[in-house]
Each structure stands twice: as structure tokens, then as C-alpha cells.
């Protein structure tokens, strides 16, 4: 036991002292924020307003286009394809009237391409106006139209609330927040499994290639060596996690200082004009919205669960990575192909998670969060939707117990592969042989 402790200490200290640890710890959250908010910032500031001349034969469209962040409309007299530029416009939109039962057709002429966002904005407006025109042609009066629009376009007039019922308690649920937390925690666990799993594998490979393995196993049991490394790296991971949480907290507090509400409003407008193109902005908005209601989440449950799945998810996979590292010879290519059976379920976990976020009570989500190969990722994406409720207590219990059992099982099997592999040189080991080592009696 004492020897494992010495190994853990070395693994931890050498890694934490390493420059790459410091760098990745501080750069990762910065990069994330730069990506999310930088995207929104550039998106909001970077769009120029294009001036488009409208030439419509019916006169129905005049002054009905609403200017947006990306397009400003003008209705000059006698504009055509030869003179719109002289009149100070970048594009010409000609609308050909058809009969009253059909939508009008429109053509946009520009010298240079105006980009997808401009196109989307114009199409959006055309659709609305056409809709109104067709409604009016069928006898709906202008007044009726305006009053309908007033109701439908004002979000607050639509009084929609969703509630979660837990026994006697009725709580307003916040799907956006649950989604954001679920998505973020599932994704972080996914990254953690890969980063720290690979770190374990590299550590084992280093020991084998430097030929220190034989010196080590003449002092300690191979199992102690493997476990010491795995636990040491887990401690590094937890350290990094805590630093990240602190950093993210600081950064998100700072971000509201740097990013003015106007910018976000503009980003919001962009979203409306161009719904398919604005994922970054949506994410940024969601995070900022989430921040305001962030205290409504059940952190007392989410944080311990996250640490549990973070730790045991890592432990479940780490020994498998160690087993692969132990059989690899000089050729890193070999590691790639042997890693496939480990990486496949992790990637599968991410796919199930994306599904589970949309439908957190579906059977795929439930099974994915119980089977230990995918449960760390999938369960963490479901928990923010509510326990009990979306996730029943028994599901959480079964998931946790099966993950712990799975961890003991993979460690036990991997140790047998590791013990043989770490002293075996020059021989290319197949998956079949590894399986044979794992299941033979010792």
C-alpha cells in the first residue's frame, strides 16, 4: 500500500510540475470562451449592412421590407439593372407579380456575392410579405393582419411555461439551462476520457520503451505499478478540473463586463434573420441566459454526480488504456489500431448523449446511462433534467453500481494483460491474444 502511494506521488508531481499541464489548464477555458464569445462578437460586428434597391411592379412591397442588421432596403424610382449602382445600391431585387393565387417570383442581381446571411434575410422578408399578400387577396383586411402579427411576433404575448412535478412540489423547469449543463458535462467527460486515458497509455508505453518496467516490477507488483499510475493521473485530472471550474467562474463573470448587451442583442437579431447559421451565437446566448438563472439548477446534486462520473468513467477506461499501452512495441501505429475497441464505445457515448439531450427519458437514453461503457457521458447529460423525474433514483443507483462493478472488472482483466505485456518485447500482440491473457486463470 505504501508503495502505491509512492508511485501515485511521483506520477502526480511529475505531471503537475510539467509545463504542458499548466499550459493546458489555463489555455483550455480561455480557448473555449474565445471560441464561443469571439464567434458571437465577430458575427455581430462583422456583418455590414447591404443596401438593396427594390423594383416591384405591383407596388405592394414598397416600404413593407423591414430593415435588419444585414440589409437596408430602398425604393428608388426607375431603377434597373444598369443604374442601381449609380443610385448607391449594392444589389437590385426585382419582383415579378403573378396572379393573386400564387406567390410572386423575385430575382436578386448583385455584382459581388452578398453572402448567405443577406440571402436568408431577404428571403425571410419576401416570405412574410407574400404571406400577407395572399391572405389579403383572400379577404383578410390589413387591420386584422396587423393585430395578428402583433400577437404572434411578441414573444411575451405567448404565455408558455413548462413545469416539473415532483410529488407535491411543482417547479418551473429550465430546459435551456438543463440542456446547457447536460451538454457541457457530457462533453467534458468525453474529453476527459480521451485526454487522461491517453495519458495513462503513454505513461505505460514510456515505461515499457525505456525498459524501466523490469526494474520497477522487481520492486513492486505490476498491479501496484498500474494502479499507482492510474490513480496518480486521476489526481492530476481532479486538480485540473478544480482549476477549470475556478477559471470558468472567473471568466464568465468577466465576460459580462467585456461583452455589452447591445452586442448580444445584435447577435440575437442575427439569429432571427439567419437561424441556420448562428450556432455560435445561440451557444453564447444560452450561456449568458443560463448565467442569470444558473442558481436555479440543482447544483448540490449535479456537482457530486459529475465528480463521480468524471472519476469512475476515467477509472473504468484508464486500465483498458493501460493494457493497450503495455502490449505496444516501438510502433505508435500499433497503438492506434489496438485503441479502436476502446475509443469506439466512447464515441458511441457521445452519439447517444446527443440523442439523450433531445429526449432524456427515451429508452436509448436510459440504457445508455446504465451500461458502464457509455454511462459516464450519457448519464451526466440527463441528470440536469432532474432527479427524480427525468432520471429515477433507481436508474441513478443502478448506473453508479454498474459503473463501479465495471471499473473493478476492467481493472482486473486489464491487470492480467498488463502483467504479461509489459515485459514482452518485439512481439506484435493481437487483440485475440490480449483477450486470451485477460481470461486465463492466473
Amino acid at each position: 500500500m505504501n508503495k502505491i502511494w509512492i508511485i501515485i506521488k511521483r506520477e502526480y508531481v511529475t505531471r503537475v510540475r510539467n509545463k504542458t499541464f499548466l499550459l493546458s489548464t489555463f489555455l483550455f477555458p480561455l480557448l473555449m470562451f474565445a471560441l464561443i464569445f469571439g464567434g458571437a462578437f465577430i458575427g455581430a460586428n462583422g456583418t455590414e449592412q447591404r443596401k438593396i434597391a427594390v423594383n416591384d411592379q405591383s407596388g405592394l412591397y414598397k416600404n413593407n421590407f423591414k430593415n435588419s442588421a444585414s440589409v437596408e432596403y430602398g425604393y428608388p424610382e426607375g431603377v434597373d439593372r444598369n443604374n442601381y449602382k449609380n443610385k448607391g445600391f449594392e444589389g437590385l431585387l426585382i419582383i415579378y407579380s403573378s396572379n393573386q393565387q400564387k406567390a410572386d417570383s423575385a430575382r436578386l442581381y448583385t455584382q459581388k456575392q452578398l453572402g448567405l446571411s443577406t440571402d436568408e434575410a431577404i428571403k425571410n422578408q419576401l416570405q412574410k410579405i407574400n404571406e400577407n399578400r395572399l391572405l389579403m387577396a383572400r379577404g383578410v383586411t390589413r387591420n386584422t393582419l396587423d393585430s395578428i402579427r402583433l400577437q404572434s411576433e411578441n414573444e411575451e404575448s405567448l404565455n408558455y411555461r413548462s413545469y416539473q412535478v415532483k410529488g407535491a412540489e411543482i417547479k418551473e423547469d429550465n430546459k435551456v439551462l438543463a440542456l446547457a449543463i447536460g451538454y457541457a458535462s457530457g462533453f467534458i467527460i468525453y474529453i476527459v476520457l480521451f485526454i487522461y486515458g491517453a495519458a495513462v497509455m503513454r505513461g505505460v508505453m514510456e515505461e515499457k520503451m525505456n525498459r524501466i518496467a523490469e526494474v520497477m516490477v522487481s520492486s513492486v507488483k505490476p498491479f501496484q505499478l498500474m494502479l499507482g499510475k492510474i490513480i496518480g493521473i486521476a489526481a492530476v485530472g481532479l486538480t485540473q478540473l478544480f482549476l477549470w471550474i475556478i477559471l470558468i467562474f472567473i471568466l464568465s463573470s468577466l465576460s459580462s463586463l467585456f461583452i455589452s448587451p447591445e452586442v448580444l442583442e445584435q447577435a440575437q437579431k442575427m439569429n432571427e434573420s439567419m437561424p441556420s447559421m448562428a450556432q455560435n451565437n445561440t451557444m453564447a446566448l444560452k450561456i449568458l441566459q443560463a448565467k442569470t438563472t444558473v442558481f436555479s439548477a440543482n447544483w448540490a446534486l449535479i456537482i457530486p454526480c459529475f465528480i463521480f462520473y468524471f472519476l469512475f468513467g476515467y477509472l473504468f477506461y484508464a486500465s483498458l488504456f493501460a493494457a493497450v499501452g503495455s502490449v505496444v512495441n516501438e510502433d505508435p501505429q500499433e497503438a492506434q489500431s489496438l485503441m479502436l475497441p476502446i475509443t469506439l464505445p466512447i464515441i458511441l457515448g457521445i452519439f447517444i448523449m446527443i440523442n439523450a439531450i433531445q429526449n432524456p427519458s427515451g429508452s436509448l437514453a436510459v440504457w445508455g446511462s446504465i451500461i458502464p461503457f457509455t454511462s459516464p457521458i450519457v448519464m451526466m447529460s440527463r441528470i440536469p433534467f432532474g432527479v427524480p423525474g427525468t432520471v429515477e433514483y433507481w436508474e441513478l443507483g443502478v448506473s453508479m453500481i454498474s459503473l463501479i462493478a465495471g471499473f473493478l472488472c476492467t481493472t482486473w482483466l486489464s491487470a492480467k494483460i498488463y502483467r504479461t505485456g509489459i515485459l514482452l518485447y518485439g512481439k506484435k500482440v493481437t487483440l485475440k491474444e490480449m483477450a486470451k491473457w485477460a481470461f486465463r486463470k492466473s
Binding site: 520497477m216 522487481s218 515485459l423
Partner: protein
Amino acid sequence: MSTILEVQHLKKYFSSQKAVDDISFTIEKGSIFGLLGPNGAGKTTLIRMITGIFYPDSGNINLNGKKFNPVSDVIDIGYMPEERGLYKKMKVGEQAMYLAQLKGMSKQDAFGNVKEWFEKFEMQSWWNKKVDDLSKGMQQKLQFVITVLHEPKLVILDEPFSGLDPVNSNLIKDQIFNLAQKGTTIIFSTHRMEQVEEICDHIVLLNKGHKILDGTVRDIKQQYKQNIFTAEVDHLPAVLQHASFTIVKQNENNLTLKINEGYRANDVLLHFINQQSGIIAYHEILPSLNEIFIRLVEGTPTARQFETIIA
């Protein structure tokens, strides 16, 4: 002298080879023991069982008269494998401390011993260097120090001189004698016979997983002598031939003779004396271990064939 290590009917079969097949021997405390054998004879497997890395399939290992316990007895064993290995990115001093503590030493004891050995080998200035920055010979010295610094009772060295220049070889050789004098037992595994003759008291020769020779260097040489003598005379006798010997090699007045069956060394001398040849030198040539080694191993295929073992 008491026995430190006793190996009884040790067996280790791998799926395709009988790596060690019923080997027994004993090693006296404070002796330098040579474990010899061609490549693939089973030396490394045997050593790995003695160091507790492998469990034998059957047989016993007794250390200091008690059954060997791979967990608690590691403090008594120092092992330097043939494939040297150190953490390349770790600092020399930390590494020595780390490995000493893993053997079970306390931090204070480890520090004292590391300092003492570093002084002995003039390595104090290496303390904060990374292993990567050391030359190969320096790494070898460090590896030796790490092997012995926890004061093991049994030191196992697998090819300790490979890659060392003569100066450093002698340095380590002196330390080996030094340790043996203080009562440390040394197992020395190699296939370099001239070193064995120089260093070892007792040897065991392995081939194909079996023990084929066991004894002190002197006894073995006596056992495998072929009654060959050299004689140097001031002038050759008129009649050189005699029933007592055959001439193996002649270089003017230097003769290499093989004593024929039924005769003794003195019969040859008598012949020369009777022939009025003045004898300048006359002595027996004992076979070198190298010759014995080759004679015993020759005729068996050099590479071990893989076989299917049903065990």
C-alpha cells in the same frame, strides 16, 4: 559458509517453450556466482523467478533458509536487467531516491545511501541532471548504483559490463569484489566467459532450460581437462616420438602435447630427460571456460525450436 539462495526443481513453461525445466542449485553467502548460458537458455526467465517477477510453475526458491516471498523479500534483492531502463525525463537524484523508496527504504535512509554511492562514483554533480542528459556509460553507472543502493543481500547483474569502457568496467568490478567481501552475494549472468573466469567462484551453465554444468571454476576446469601440456626444451631430442604422448602443435622448441591414455605427465618428462633434452618449462594447459562452454553447447541447435507443451 551458509547458503543464501537455494533453488529446487524450478520449472517454468511458456505456451511454446520449456523456458526453465527442472533446475536446482545453491549459492553460498558472499560468493560471486556465474549464471551462464547461450542466448535463449532460460537465464532471464530463471532470474525473473528469483526476483519475484514471474511465479514458477513448480519448484521452490528459498532465500536465507526461508521460502522466498516476492513481496517482502524485494528489499533483499537488487536486480540490474540486461535491458537497462530509467525514466529519461526524471532527474538523477530524484530517480535514485524514488527507486530506493520503492524497495522499501525510508526517505532518510535512502538519502544517506544515495549520497554515499554518488560520492563513491563521483556523481554528486549529476543530481539535478535529467537522465536524458547523461551519456550511455554514465547511465550504466547510475543503473548499477540504483541496483545496489538499498544494500541488498543478493545482487543480480545481467551483463553488467556491456557498453562500458575499461576504466568504468574496472570501477564496477572493484565494487563487485568489494560488495562480495562485505558479505553480499552476487549473481552474475553473462555469456562473456573471460569475465566469468576472472570474477566468479562458482558457476552454473544452462542450455535449453536445463542445467548442464555446476561447480567451482577450478573443479570444472579439472573435470574438463584434456591432459594437454606445453613443454619448452633447450633442444629437441633425437627421437621425439614416444608412446606416452602425441604432439598437438610444434613451434620450434615449444611443444603442445596430449598425454595418451594410460600414461601420466611424468612419463613425458622422463622421456625428455632420458633423451638429454633440457627442460625449460613444463605445465598443464587447462581448458578455458570458453572452450568448455562451446564444447558443451555445440552440437545442440543454436536457436531453440518452438515446441508445443502440454502442461
